[in-house]
């Protein structure tokens, strides 16, 4: 093991490879923070550039981009309430309110710290327990995947106890959007209405960018509210050790969830981020504060999504199964260089595998350093007139939406969802369940139908399996919990009233 690490380190610390890794991290942060470009598109765009590189250098470049982009999106999430990457969407919930209060530097410092710690944790897990994690993940059947998707949706939908119905409607709308197009199993068209555009379904990026970015800009144009301007002398406010220790359980939960989610094939950092945030809502002592700009709301998703990055390499390297959309593209990058991911990789190409391990560890360190430097630069963006910021962001979003399929139709879709996002914001419909519905919808449906095939169409079998049954019951309880709390409060109120009445009636 030590010898393999030594070989890996030798490969990574060659000047050319280390420079390429650094370039990858910087590009990743840039890709991540640009709305609509995202780490996935960044990796896909850079794969052709790796043709001329050595295999190790090529993979280090792509790994650097992946690591950097997972953090980079949090910058725009915090500064503009626009997730640069879908996996940074939950960071908007508390990051942006914190920035509006004039604490952007603190929010950014929390993001980089949580991201760095999460990334390092994910890498350590990848290195030390990847074989074990892979075995656990492979035991999950479609029933468990369905239950996991349902659980994620139900928790996010029930986050706002005052409007669970609105949260559910938002999530259901997202699930509905995900059904448009061609059914993956039967190949039949659903809700296409004969439109060529709708046959390919709705792309996630125009919806996300439209709902979050355009919706926010339209809302600010409507209310003409100005957020608190940041002191020009602000600098990145890295959290003190005391503050990090105060967040230790949040970080541990986030990193653990991120790792467990990341190792599941096909689920990815976006789900990890939402699940990390949902877990914080569930286990926080003050869940009502989440969404108002608290450190936990940043630490949870950022530690989760970066932990998921390292963990997503587990199924990729050990089984050749992508752990996320980005790793699915990475498989293409590996195959180009004649490297076939799978269990034989650990036997035949150990130096290569350990180069990835060391490279990922270094990428997270470089991300922390680069993030600190980038934060100092991008905090200054807040001093730029908002009119310019808004116009610039919209043009970037337009480019990002167009770049998905090189089709102007996606820009129109972004506009439509911008209007929808504005209306949802105005009438207090939460945005997160919609996005999660779009992401988890295909996973949930596909898993459910496959599970039914495997369980001979006995839907009750979903409840008898320990993992899926537990998750489904927790999902139901999560959605009913506001009602249950209301009933308990009503019962207590009536009990107090009857006690007071009997006390008053006694002479």
């Amino acid at each position: 093991m030590v010898e393999n690490f030594s070989l890996g380190a030798q490969n990574v610390f060659v000047l050319v490879n280390f420079s390429i890794l650094t370039l990858g991290v910087v590009l990743g942060i840039i890709f991540g923070l640009l709305p609509g470009i995202s780490g996935v598109n960044g990796v896909a765009l850079l794969i052709p550039f790796t043709f001329t590189l050595d295999p190790i250098a090529g993979v280090l470049l792509l790994t650097g981009v992946y690591c950097g982009s997972t953090y980079g999106g949090s910058i725009t999430s915090i500064l503009f309430n626009t997730p640069g990457d879908p996996q940074n969407a939950p960071t908007c919930f508390d990051g942006y309110p914190m920035a509006k209060r004039g604490e952007a530097g603190r929010a950014l410092g929390l993001a980089i710290t949580s991201s760095g710690l999460g990334g390092i944790f994910g890498t350590v897990v990848l290195i030390t327990v990847s074989p074990l994690l892979a075995k656990v993940a492979l035991k999950f059947s479609p029933a468990e995947f369905f239950a996991l998707a349902l659980f994620g949706l139900s928790v996010i939908s029930s986050m706002d106890a005052k409007s669970v119905r609105k949260g559910m409607l938002s999530g259901l709308f997202g699930l509905l959007l995900a059904t448009v197009g061609i059914d993956a199993i039967s190949g039949t068209e659903r809700f296409t209405f004969g439109s060529k555009l709708l046959i390919s379904g709705f792309s996630f990026i125009p919806i996300t960018v439209g709902v979050f970015a355009l919706g926010e800009i339209f809302d600010l144009a409507h209310t003409q509210q100005e957020f608190a301007r940041v002191d020009r002398k602000i600098s990145a406010d890295l959290p003190k050790l005391r503050e990090i220790l105060a967040l230790k359980w949040t970080l541990v939960r986030g990193m653990t969830i991120g790792t467990l989610i990341g190792v599941l094939p096909g689920v990815g950092a976006t789900t990890a981020a939402f699940m990390g945030y949902a877990a914080e809502v569930r286990f926080s002592r003050h869940p009502e504060r989440l969404g108002t700009g608290v450190p936990e709301g940043i630490a949870a998703p950022e530690s989760a999504n970066n932990a998921a990055v390292g963990a997503s390499y587990v199924p990729l390297l050990t089984m050749g199964i992508p752990g996320s959309a980005t790793t699915a593209i990475l498989i293409g990058g590996l195959l180009v260089h004649g490297i076939v991911p799978g269990p034989l990789l650990f036997v035949q190409q150990k130096p290569f595998v350990f180069s990835i391990f060391v490279g990922m560890f270094m990428a997270n360190l470089l991300m922390i350093i680069g993030g600190i430097l980038a934060v100092r630069l991008f905090v200054k963006v807040l001093n730029i007139p908002y009119a310019f910021q808004a116009a610039f962001v919209i043009v970037l979003c337009t480019i990002g939406a167009f770049a998905v399929r090189n089709d102007i139709a996606d820009v129109w879709i972004m506009l439509i969802f911008g209007v929808i996002g504005f209306l949802m914001k105005r009438y207090d419909f939460p945005l997160a369940p919609l996005i999660l519905g779009v992401v988890l919808g295909p996973i949930a449906e596909f898993s459910l139908r496959r599970a039914m095939l495997m369980l001979d169409y006995n839907i009750w079998a979903l409840f008898t399996r320990p993992v899926s049954g537990t998750l489904i019951i927790l999902s139901i309880l999560s959605l009913l919990s506001p009602g249950i709390r209301w009933l308990i409060a009503l019962t207590r109120k009536k009990a107090k009233a009857s006690v007071a009445k009997s006390e008053n009636s006694t002479p």
Binding site: R165, Q224, Y427
Partner: protein, 164 residues
């Protein structure tokens, strides 16, 4: 009818109407084979059924709220429907115009117009920043990342071809 709730009622009613409309469309989705009951109709049926129920429930709740006369707290800040309308129309024109004017011509026009709508009155900054940003984005996305943004038609296409 209290103004703050009108939009919510319309939204709930619209979603209810959409759910019911699509429920009728679900029946037209082809379904065959042994697992016909768990085919492509099942998932949309579940989603639309729940959507119709919940949106109807919300719709009724809002109606009851109106009858009770409950008022919604003010959201604060000055509402500028006109600015909002112009913002949306401007972006619509930008998207429509980009196909004919090309990215390089449409973008600075849009940015300048949108910044003016949002209240910027530093005209030199407005014009120069719009042009500068467009050129930078041209270099970064079109020439470096090879994203084939629209070139436009006619003379506008010729202008675009000068740059890429």
């Amino acid at each position: 009818m209290p103004r703050p709730y009108l939009g919510e009622i319309i939204t709930c009613a619209a979603y209810l109407g959409l759910s019911i409309f699509l429920l009728f469309k679900v029946e037209k989705i082809p379904q065959f084979g042994v697992d016909a009951s768990f085919g492509p109709r099942l998932w949309p049926l579940i989603i639309l059924g729940l959507s119709a129920l919940i949106s109807a429930s919300l719709f009724v709740s809002h109606l009851l709220t109106i009858f009770r006369g409950d008022a919604r707290p003010s959201s604060g800040g000055m509402e500028a429907w006109w600015t909002l309308f112009l913002s949306m129309v401007t972006f619509l024109l930008y998207t429509a115009g980009m196909q004919y004017l090309g990215f390089l011509v449409a973008t600075p026009l849009y940015m300048a117009g949108f910044m003016a709508i949002l209240g910027m009155r530093r005209w030199t900054y407005l014009v120069m920043s719009s042009i500068a940003v467009t050129l930078i984005l041209n270099f970064l996305f079109i020439q470096f990342l090879f994203i084939p943004l629209p070139k436009g038609v006619g003379v506008f296409r010729d202008i675009s071809l000068l740059f890429y």
